[in-house]
């Protein structure tokens, strides 16, 4: 008889781990500091992300932005998987380094802000 403890207990996936079961509410992506020039001059974007099986984290969000929102010269905003050095990312007014950078999972009502520090002053 197979003892019960050999089986791994089933884990019910939490709703936020799957993007499928809940629809994400529209949230804000703001761009400041000169980076808006790459987004056609538009500073505030309200976006609704499409449902997808993988959870939305910043990495996927960046890919999505590159495809959908970025109007010109993607190399000035992104470098590989991440943003170009010199562009700050604020999630709910906190530095993304405190939140886990690319691996932070987006929640409802999150506010993501990109500030470019590359245009001097």
């Amino acid at each position: 008889m197979i003892s019960a403890e050999n089986k791994r207990p089933l884990q019910t996936p939490s709703p936020s781990a799957l993007g499928v079961r809940r629809s994400l509410t529209p949230f804000n992506i703001n761009v400041e500091g000169g980076a808006e020039l790459l987004f056609d001059g538009v500073k505030k974007h309200q976006v609704t992300l499409p449902c997808q099986p993988e959870p939305w984290d910043i990495r996927n969000l960046l890919k999505w932005i590159k495809q959908n929102l970025l109007k010109e010269r993607p190399e000035l905003f992104m470098q590989g998987d991440s943003v170009r050095p010199g562009i700050l990312v604020l999630i709910n007014d906190a530095d993304w380094e405190l939140m886990g950078e690319l691996d932070y999972k987006l929640q409802d009502q999150d506010n993501v802000l990109f500030i470019s520090t590359l245009h001097g002053g």
């Binding site: 500091g33 020039l37 050095p85 700050l88 520090t117 590359l118 245009h119 001097g120 002053g121």
Partner: protein, 516 residues
């Protein structure tokens, strides 16, 4: 930062250079806060603002420039300080005196900082006692509010604020003449600094505050090293830059990183006006400035202490005291454009020699009578048909410039020559002899310098050749005449001294000996 350095005296007029970007806007906001505080730590100087519109060279249309100007004006008007809006085209109208050090402040001895503060406080108490106390500083400034258009534009008609299209065209041509983005950026910085300096001088300001953040200072430090300005690092990136004599440039924001400034602006709602920067025609061609910025920022992402380390190292540099070798009391010779002490006078200047030699040999004109005519040894009169009158004065500019300014200057003339000035197309040799490693041809002439007042430097005719010949510091008129003949050509060659080969408007009366 200001209190620690004690260079801004109470009651002094200080001009804030606003570029619209985050750092200078943050500086403006901090000055506003500092002036309005009621405590003893209040800032006590009299600020003014200057904004230089560079839209012409950044590829902006007139409509966009108007829009930017309107936004900047809205911001500066809200502060209540007197402000001046300048256009980069006005750099053509600058007087020749901009290239000279101003006289140092007055004959009376400068009081110590402490005394000055005490005097000021006394004065304020007296004014309060006289019943004038109601007029606080911002109110008095509001009475003085002016909008100055040095070009004589009509302030009442907002539609005509931009300078004439001809000037804009000239400016664009000037920047087109510089092939590399590096030279363009250097040129832009130079013109901008001169324009701000001129505004400060004419309006009676003794200090200028620039909004260079720590990140920018670190990038500038390394960039200037790459550009050959290593000797002047302390002046270009230090807190106070007093090379202009009467107007000192101060950089109070140099301790704040760009990231901190960005957060500050975001949380305190500081308005900024972002204008696009200079762009190269092709994406791959960037400038040394951009390269260095990318390098440092990339490194900073991995090693967060990079920029502060570079900055701290740079802080240790101080401006050099007067050289011991020169006569006591004599002013060291200064570069014409950047007003730093000339660093090209040393004979054995290793970096400079080979470039000079290579140029001279490459530009050697083809004599019409073959090699024999070059033996003549006169001032190259046999070897070219007609040196244009402007070429000689342009050739004479080079010894007046420091190493990095020379590079920028040469950039501008080289491009026009390559585009085929008719005089020079027949002159450049296919295979200059000196470069390919052959021994020096016997026909190498003895060349005389263009003017006896230059110090003749002994140069080797080829780095491995033992023979030496004397040449003027800038080569002969013939050689560098070919190099400089077809300059950017803003005006005809006969206008050379009048317009300046690089657009710095030197008036015809400004003769070279007069500059010494």
């Amino acid at each position: 930062m200001l209190g620690k350095n004690r260079v801004i005296f109470p009651g002094e007029k200080v001009l804030l250079a606003l570029s619209g970007g985050p750092a200078s806007s943050a500086m403006l906001r901090q000055v506003q806060e500092g002036l309005s505080r009621e405590t003893a730590k209040r800032l006590r100087f009299v600020p003014g603002l200057v904004y230089v519109d560079e839209g012409a060279v950044c590829g902006q249309s007139p409509a966009q420039r108007e829009e930017n100007l309107a936004r900047v004006e809205a911001i500066v008007q809200a502060t209540g300080f007197p402000y001046y809006l300048a256009h980069l085209e006005q750099a053509f109208d600058l007087p020749g005196s901009i290239l000279r050090r101003g006289p140092r402040g007055g004959d009376k001895p400068c009081p110590s900082y402490k005394e000055a503060v005490e005097d000021f406080i006394q004065q304020q108490r007296q004014e309060a006692a006289d019943g004038d106390g109601a007029a606080s500083l911002p109110q008095r400034l509001a009475q003085l509010r002016t909008q100055d258009m040095p070009a004589g534009g009509d302030p009442a008609a907002p539609g005509t604020r931009l300078p004439a299209a001809a000037c804009t065209e000239e400016l664009v041509q000037l920047f087109e003449a510089a092939e590399t983005l590096t030279a363009k950026e250097e040129l832009l910085q130079m013109l901008r600094t001169h324009l701000i300096l001129h505004t400060a001088r004419t309006q009676g300001y003794t200090k200028v505050m620039m909004g260079d953040s720590c990140t920018r200072v670190a990038v500038k430090l390394l960039t200037n090293l790459a550009l050959g300005r290593g000797a002047f690092l302390a002046m270009d990136t230090g807190f106070m830059d007093s090379r202009h004599g009467d107007v000192a440039v101060v950089r109070p924001m140099r301790e704040y990183m760009a990231k901190e400034i960005a957060f500050y602006n975001h949380f305190f709602g500081v308005p900024t006006v972002i204008t696009p920067a200079l762009r190269a025609k092709r994406r791959e061609k960037t400038s040394i400035h951009r390269l260095m910025e990318d390098f440092l920022l990339g490194l900073q992402a991995e090693f967060p202490s990079t920029i502060s380390t570079v900055y701290r190292t740079g802080e240790k540099l101080s401006t050099a005291p007067a050289e011991a070798g020169s006569e006591p009391g004599a002013e060291p010779q200064r570069c014409l454009l950047c007003l730093c002490a000339l660093d090209t006078l040393a004979e054995e200047d290793l970096a400079l020699e080979p470039t000079l030699i290579a140029e001279e040999v490459a530009q050697r004109p083809q004599g019409p009578a073959g090699d024999g005519c070059c033996h003549a040894g006169t001032q190259g009169s046999c070897c070219q048909s007609s040196p244009t009158p402007g070429a000689e004065s342009r050739a004479a500019f080079l010894p007046l410039l420091c190493y990095s300014c020379r590079l920028t200057f040469k950039e501008m003339v080289r491009q026009r020559r390559a585009r085929g000035g008719s005089a020079s197309s027949g002159r450049s040799r296919a295979a200059p002899r000196g470069r390919s490693g052959d021994p020096c041809p016997p026909s190498l002439p003895i060349q005389h310098g263009p003017s006896p007042s230059r110090r003749a430097t002994q140069t080797r005719c080829h780095p491995t050749c033992a023979r030496r010949r004397s040449a003027g510091a800038a080569g002969t008129t013939g050689d560098t005449g070919a190099l400089l003949r077809a300059g950017p050509g803003l005006a005809g060659p006969h206008d050379g001294p009048a317009r300046g080969a690089a657009g710095w408007a030197l008036r015809p009366g400004l003769s070279l000996p007069g500059l010494r």
